[in-house]
């Protein structure tokens, strides 16, 4: 049986602290194809961040495992770049230097110095941040920081891009603009994306599939929903689309009727 590009198989995570053991995830199975945009949605504390961190290699799996492009995930690496919820840019580096750090580390031997510089600029161009190259994170807005975080992740040319509630801390207007940027980038680069969100509209607008998780502890996948909307998607046009409305309703039904927190 041919394996999917990213395959999560029988994954379970149990944290133990002294004699206390808490089972966070149980028997998670998920196949993600190359170029697919998959969202994980669920109530707070359902372990979706844990799942993303296991795929990132930041947390070890207790049972089962993750296979990406034929290789088992057993440690973090730039092929699974993470955009963290709170951007986690290094405050002592400028916008350009933050991306440079990743580019120099990942392509230090593969590209010349000039190529690396251009690659940094290219990725900052993708997120429209070339106007603030020499600014430091404290000098730019939350939305801009998140853009730089996305540029840093894209610059690693990851096999799968992991977004951990990337727009969670932003206001609604900034969030919408960033979602459009992400959709546009994904349509050109065809990234494989795994995104955590708690926003139903965001999940429906951006995803090819929405993975809905049951409440923790011992959370698992409750339901997977295909969003069959043609791309490129326009947030105004899809709002009237029956497929969008149905998808959105199905997620809301799952979250608030069947998994009411």
């Amino acid at each position: 049986m041919p394996k999917a590009y990213l395959s999560i198989e029988g994954l379970g995570v149990t944290f133990s602290k002294g004699a206390q053991r808490s089972e966070v995830l149980r028997d998670i199975n998920l196949q993600v194809e190359r170029g697919e945009f998959v969202s994980l949605i669920g109530h707070s504390g359902c372990g979706k961040s844990t799942l993303l961190n296991v795929v990132a290699g930041l947390i070890p799996a207790t049972t089962g495992g993750v296979i990406l492009d034929g290789q088992e995930v057993d440690q973090p690496g730039p092929d699974r770049a993470v955009v963290f919820q709170n951007h986690s840019l290094l405050p002592w580096l400028s916008v350009r230097e933050n991306v440079d750090l990743a580019v120099n580390k990942v392509f230090g031997s593969a590209k010349s110095a000039a190529e690396r510089r251009d690659w940094t600029l290219h990725n900052l161009e993708l997120v429209q941040m070339t106007h603030a190259l020499n600014k430091r994170p404290a000098e730019i807005s939350g939305g801009m920081k998140q853009r730089v975080g996305i540029a840093r992740a894209l610059a690693m040319q990851p096999k799968v891009l992991l977004l951990d509630e990337p727009f969670g801390a932003l206001d609604a207007l900034t969030r919408a603009r960033l979602q459009d940027t992400v959709m546009q980038i994904q349509s050109t680069l065809k990234n494989t994306v795994l995104m955590i969100t708690h926003d139903v509209d965001e999940a429906t607008l951006l995803s090819d599939r929405i993975v809905m998780m049951t409440n923790g502890p011992r959370a698992s996948i409750g339901q997977v929903l295909e969003v069959s909307l043609a791309r490129p998607r326009d947030r105004l046009a899809v709002a009237e689309n029956p497929a969008y409305i149905r998808g959105r309703a199905a997620v809301i039904e799952f979250l608030y009727a069947r998994q009411a927190a």
């Binding site: 290699g57 930041l58 730039p78 986690s88 002592w92 750090l101």
Partner: protein
């Protein structure tokens, strides 16, 4: 459509009417600016000056009512105005102006403090990064840091048998603890997010040290260095009592033996101002190096 029309006609006469008083306005603006600057300077400088004058006044009154004790400010001026006015004289031996004494002391503090900065930051990184080093060493450091400089003197002499290294050791051992402890706290507080960034990028331990750990810890290190430089300056009098020769600590001890209290008061003013300058210098270095992020 009719709205913009009337606004055109009155515009010209208005500017014409406004034009003549303009130079006066700038003059008034300049005067305003000068007044504002003067006020700002006055609010910054006047309170400490007034406080100083008041303290000197109280001191003068208190000292003149108890003759034979601490000299009053006017008596100090009479006794020591040579020392106050010319800090640069050099009559050979230990008979030098206070500038030379302070400079010699600063050199000693410079050596002792540099050593404690290097060792303190290294040890701080070690006990911050290694749980076992922390468990083993932290209690020891917490006890040792409370030992006063003077108490280290006999130990130091017994260890080195010579005055010069003993004096440096006293400065070193007094100032190292806050550097170790603050560096360790900084290392233990490196945000998990930065560590995750390093893990995703697979930074090597050396890259992690220089690109993440050190910059993230810089504000803490400089807090430690700032406390440390203050303490090393505190230790100078103790350490120079055993050294003899030139140095502001020995100067104070020497003048005490010669019962020249006035000269000691002058030297104390130098010690205080120098300590203040050292503190500001380290704070400034911290701000420059961490590009303004340092916890002040």
């Amino acid at each position: 459509m009719s709205v913009p029309k009337p606004s055109f006609t009155p515009a010209e006469p208005l500017t014409a009417a406004l034009a003549p008083p303009e130079p006066q306005e700038t003059r008034a603006g300049l005067a305003d600016e000068l007044a504002r600057r003067a006020t700002a300077t006055a609010t910054a400088v006047l309170p400490p000056l007034l406080t100083l004058a008041a303290l000197l006044g109280i001191w003068q009154l208190a000292a003149s009512s108890h003759p034979g004790g601490v000299p009053s400010p006017s008596a100090i001026w009479q006794d020591s105005h040579d020392l106050i006015l010319d800090p640069f004289f050099d009559h050979g031996g230990t008979d030098k102006g206070l500038f030379w004494h302070v400079l010699t002391s600063l050199k000693r503090v410079g050596i002792g403090f540099s050593l404690s900065a290097i060792c303190g930051v290294s040890l701080g990184v070690l006990i911050g990064a290694n749980r076992w080093a922390h468990r083993g060493l932290d209690p020891v450091f917490q006890v040792l840091r409370t030992v006063p400089p003077l108490a280290w003197l006999p130990i130091s002499l017994a260890m080195f048998q010579q005055a010069q290294p003993s004096a440096l050791f006293v400065i070193f051992v007094t100032s190292i603890w806050p550097i170790i402890i603050n560096t360790a706290v900084g290392v233990r507080n490196v945000p998990v997010d930065y560590v995750n960034v390093a893990r995703v990028l697979r930074l090597s331990p050396i890259e992690y040290f220089f690109k993440i750990l050190l910059p993230a810890t810089t504000p803490y290190i400089f807090t430690g260095l700032r406390i440390g430089v203050g303490m090393s300056w505190l230790a100078i009098v103790a350490s120079e009592m055993l050294l003899g020769g030139v140095g502001v600590g020995f100067f104070i001890w020497d003048q005490y033996n010669a019962s020249r209290i006035s000269d000691i008061v002058v030297a104390l003013a130098w010690v205080g101002l120098t300590g203040f300058a050292l503190d500001r210098l380290v704070a400034l270095a911290g701000r420059l190096i961490s590009r303004g992020d340092a916890a002040s």
